[in-house]
Subunit: 410 residues, 2 copies
Amino acid sequence: MKADIDRIMAERDLDALVIFIGEEYSAALDYLVGRVRLTGGLAVKKRDVDPVLVVGGMETAEAAVSGLQVLAYSHYKLHELLEQNDNNGSYAYAAMLAAALAEQGVPAGKVGIYGTVEVNTVLDVLNRLRETHPDYTFVGDGGRTLFDRAAATKTADEIDRIKSVAARTSEVLQATWDFISGHKVDGETVVKADGGPLTIGDVKRFVRAALLERDLQEAGMIFAQGRDAGFPHSRGQEDMPLKLGQSIVFDLFPFELGGGYHHDVTRTWCIGHATEDVKTVYKLVRDAYDIAIEQFTLGKPTHLMQEAVQDFLEAAGHPTARSEPGTDKGYVHSLGHGLGLKVHEAPYISHTRKDDTFTAGHVVTIEPGLYYPDAGYGVRYENTLYISEAGELINITDFHDELVLPLNGA
Amino acid sequence: MKADIDRIMAERDLDALVIFIGEEYSAALDYLVGRVRLTGGLAVKKRDVDPVLVVGGMETAEAAVSGLQVLAYSHYKLHELLEQNDNNGSYAYAAMLAAALAEQGVPAGKVGIYGTVEVNTVLDVLNRLRETHPDYTFVGDGGRTLFDRAAATKTADEIDRIKSVAARTSEVLQATWDFISGHKVDGETVVKADGGPLTIGDVKRFVRAALLERDLQEAGMIFAQGRDAGFPHSRGQEDMPLKLGQSIVFDLFPFELGGGYHHDVTRTWCIGHATEDVKTVYKLVRDAYDIAIEQFTLGKPTHLMQEAVQDFLEAAGHPTARSEPGTDKGYVHSLGHGLGLKVHEAPYISHTRKDDTFTAGHVVTIEPGLYYPDAGYGVRYENTLYISEAGELINITDFHDELVLPLNGA
């Protein structure tokens, strides 16, 4: 939780952290200071002290929405720093950052650097600071980051926001099911009223509008049919017509409009009918999901849940990422991941990441799948769940698991 | 242009460049390899050689859309690298990056680091490489970056895409004008059919849907009324009702759905009527725009255009960012900026950046404004223009400049 940030900073001996703000949404910035619509600047936080925002004069009003102290670039006389540095923006920015740190009571020390930005610009600023301010050590953070660790356990408010996104996402799934179902068929092709094929692009357009109506947005849903469904991260081809009897992997992971909390759900649909092969692997995947749920106990290492699913699918004759590392056939990925302001965050339910244990406040996906691109299909089933204060694993994805989507169009 | 990348690499003595790929859209990645929907990995480019993509096994199909050589993590035995590095992801990733560079024929040398990603993760990988592979020098890039320089001059295809976004954006502006105009008034408040106030949130919802219908999306339009309009980057308050006679700054800078080329336009609207103060400054701002256009000649330093506008507005009695650096009253910002895959990129039309000259292929905004938040208003007028092969400055924003938006609701 956010309240853990200072403690984790102390564990890591961080005197301060700095978030570089860019035009992109930054989960770290949102987590630390709340939603502010900035296009540049810095968030500077001394340990055990509230962060301050350093922004351009045009964005002070937006920054003030955070309720935090806001300092304009002019406070640091950035235009003079530019002149003093022959208009080298990185040099001037480096000088401003050092001044801000000093003003916050951090004239030297270990400073964690964060932010979702163009990395080249940050590297340029840090290179300058290494020369001009050698009393600072600027450090990165990989693997389980400070924000990963803090954000992994959600507050009740965060879980409520995720539940709200889940409820709206389920409405969109049902609307999409109904939208497709309302079409007709011509031979093996799903067609629109005008006789033209219903394409994946048409479906994605429908989904985006349905999300937007509910103040949600997406950054790359998966709606992949046939062979494409056999590649877990294939997004699907826009101009591909929907066909009867093909497996469609529909993975929808929208977030609050403008950046915020996510929900993540996958269903596999076959329009009109499913092949015996797909039915068989779909049942296996559904069973694998149930096995995963049965494996849950509070405090258990997450990797054991993944390994139980791997045991099950390997016993059923399928390769897994454990039995054949790097395989692109069978059960090729992790079982799940945390989600919140990021669609992928801690904890991870993976056989290669053994440092997570199930903890109250976790919000995770559970998403087994089987993939056979050469056979022309893939299957995945995914819900989002959270671990309550009482230590129960509670599913918040309220959508049915029917495989076959019937066409009801006249 | 993209063809300039190798030349600029040579000028900077870069043996290779690496783009770290994350979940966010990256303009540099799009520019270098085209639109691919990846959530991680690396683009590695040796100078004078096509880039290769290094991605997870689940994303090889998406990566292949680029037409470039694709190497899966398994090619570098990432799972073994993880084991060899005690499951330290940054260490394993560092080893994979070094292996990829070596395989591309860059066993040592100067490597530029790019990408829009969580900067902390990249810093962690680079820190490791500095220890394990001291024969490389990894460099950042600030100010006028390699990609800024290459992308500043657009090809005919790029300009066509921007024109298409411009045409669709103008449709959305007109639809928004008509949408607001169709409302009624109750006292000073614009109201909906049900008598409730029409809010800025309602308008933004309408705009987002209208953009989506045209395969466009936005990342933070400005629709700011009254005092908020006096802060150039205030986004506007969702729950604020639209009022008669207030200045509204509507700045719309959408891009191709999923990430791509932008268009940027601002209009100032007053519903029903405008105050004399706003009419006066609006005329000044429109005149300032015309003066800017008149200043254009091919090859001219861009800052001279900004300074001509500052001369004009200062002579009219307004403070500017030149006469009063850091001012939040008057003409407080630059005159314009390049745009393309990024909404803000080179060239810049600013009195503090004197290294740009107008060049064929440039696509720029020209956007003078005057801001008086304490007086409760702000005004901006902005079009997007490009410089043709023949050296002409051509406006591609086809939308009228009427200040007063009449209410036609029954």
